[in-house]
Amino acid sequence: MAKLDRLGWTDGISFVAYGRRVGIRVNASRMLERIARCLPPGWKPSSDPLVERLYSFVAGGAGTSSRVRRFHLLYSGASRIARTLDLEDLQQALTTDLQLYVAEMARRRLFVHAGVVEWGGEAIVIPGRSYSGKSSLVAALVRAGATYYSDEYAVFSERGTVCPFRIPLTMRTGSPENGKVRSLEQACKTLEAKPAPVGLVVLTNYRPGVKWHPKMLSPGSALLGILAYTVAARTRPRAALRVLSKVVSQTPVLRGERGEADEMACQLLDCMSQSQFSRHGIRPGFQGQKG
């Protein structure tokens, strides 16, 4: 760390996000504008020089000789977490590491890897990892008129409500092996970001040609299902169980494979509108079964 401290740092930023103080220092002031795009939603600048996590963003680029190119480097504390010739990749590495840190260590919030939209005052939460199709489903729900909250994290408060975590909606194209990403312009309603009670949790993944026939999970099974995507499951299990038990005690949780996102989005919103879900059964008109 001492070696790193001796490098020439020209500028930096200190901020608070979800109760955690983070600092980022750079060796070239022009990098600050790029870094501002990497900060997590809801960040606030801080004047406190003491931080809990310090990133060092080293912009490389051309050296003194035209044949020499220096790598761009990113450190978290004394650990190097990225080394690349592509500045965009370094930014992405910073974004992801920052989000992961905040998600794991946030005070008074529980982060679950999930897509979230709001409809009629209630949130639909879609937990899932990469390549499960949750971003596609979130995009389809937004196209159908739901309000975008997040396609990355469901941020639960201590009371079990869910808060927006608005970062640009991104979707992968092609196969997982291809791994290409494209940013999708998404139409957000410009509403004040406020927590919403959870109206429905959907544990699903995409399989072509499948019709959605979900089962309703018991509260205990539902909690385990959501815990599998909870970032702080190991670091704060007490808080995780406490918050998630509030969610599953008052919200139906469905599990099942789904087909095309647009079709499923219409089904979900239709059912939410008609309040067809209840904790003890699903009314006719909805292809589901209690499990």
Partner: protein, 178 residues
């Protein structure tokens, strides 16, 4: 119970094993048996409780099935001596027997998951695997620079089919490395 976090739901009990980082869900029957595994309650008393609370014609089988599950999931402090007569009790046989006498009961059941690490629970970043020489960081699904998927062995491939990354030991963790 210091190594456990317990959360009661209406009919189920959630247990988080802090030593093994496992989360378990006990249904009503299993939870009831576990509650009385307190070192003071006899087997016959537990049997009576189950017969009374769950309206079981015979609680012995349910108690043994529950106890074996509890032991398998490290929820009993002491070892369990299962008598020969009880070793053949299974959930399926129990359920069939109860169905024959018209008793609607909840078969003792415990489901569990391994709690994910932070990286495993979160998304992979949008940096595709590039094989050799590139940076980037993944998390949990084998992208180069990230943590190797669960069950990985050092030296094995850890990325998608067109990725040349392999699992390498970096201190105490396994990283997916070009």
């Amino acid at each position: 119970m210091d190594r456990m976090v317990i959360q009661e739901l209406s009919d189920e009990t959630l247990v988080y094993d802090l030593e093994r980082n496992r989360a378990l869900c006990l249904n009503r029957t299993s939870a009831l048996v576990w509650r009385y595994c307190d070192g003071r309650t006899s087997f016959e008393q537990v049997e009576s409780v189950l017969e009374r609370e769950l309206e079981l014609p015979d609680g012995e089988e349910a108690v043994w099935i529950a106890l074996r599950q509890l032991q398998r999931n490290h929820l009993l402090r002491d070892g369990l001596n299962v008598p020969e007569t009880a070793k053949h009790y299974t959930r399926r046989v129990f359920l069939t027997k109860m169905a024959r006498v018209g008793a609607a009961v909840m078969v003792p059941m415990i489901i569990s998951i391994v709690a994910p690490t932070a990286a495993h629970a979160a998304t992979c970043i949008n940096v595709p695997c590039r094989g050799k020489g590139q940076g980037g960081r993944g998390s949990g699904d084998g992208r180069n620079g990230g943590f190797c998927p669960e069950g990985s062995v050092p030296g094995q491939a850890c990325g998608p089919p067109d990725c040349t990354c392999v699992c390498k030991k970096a201190g105490a963790i396994l990283r997916c490395t070009p």
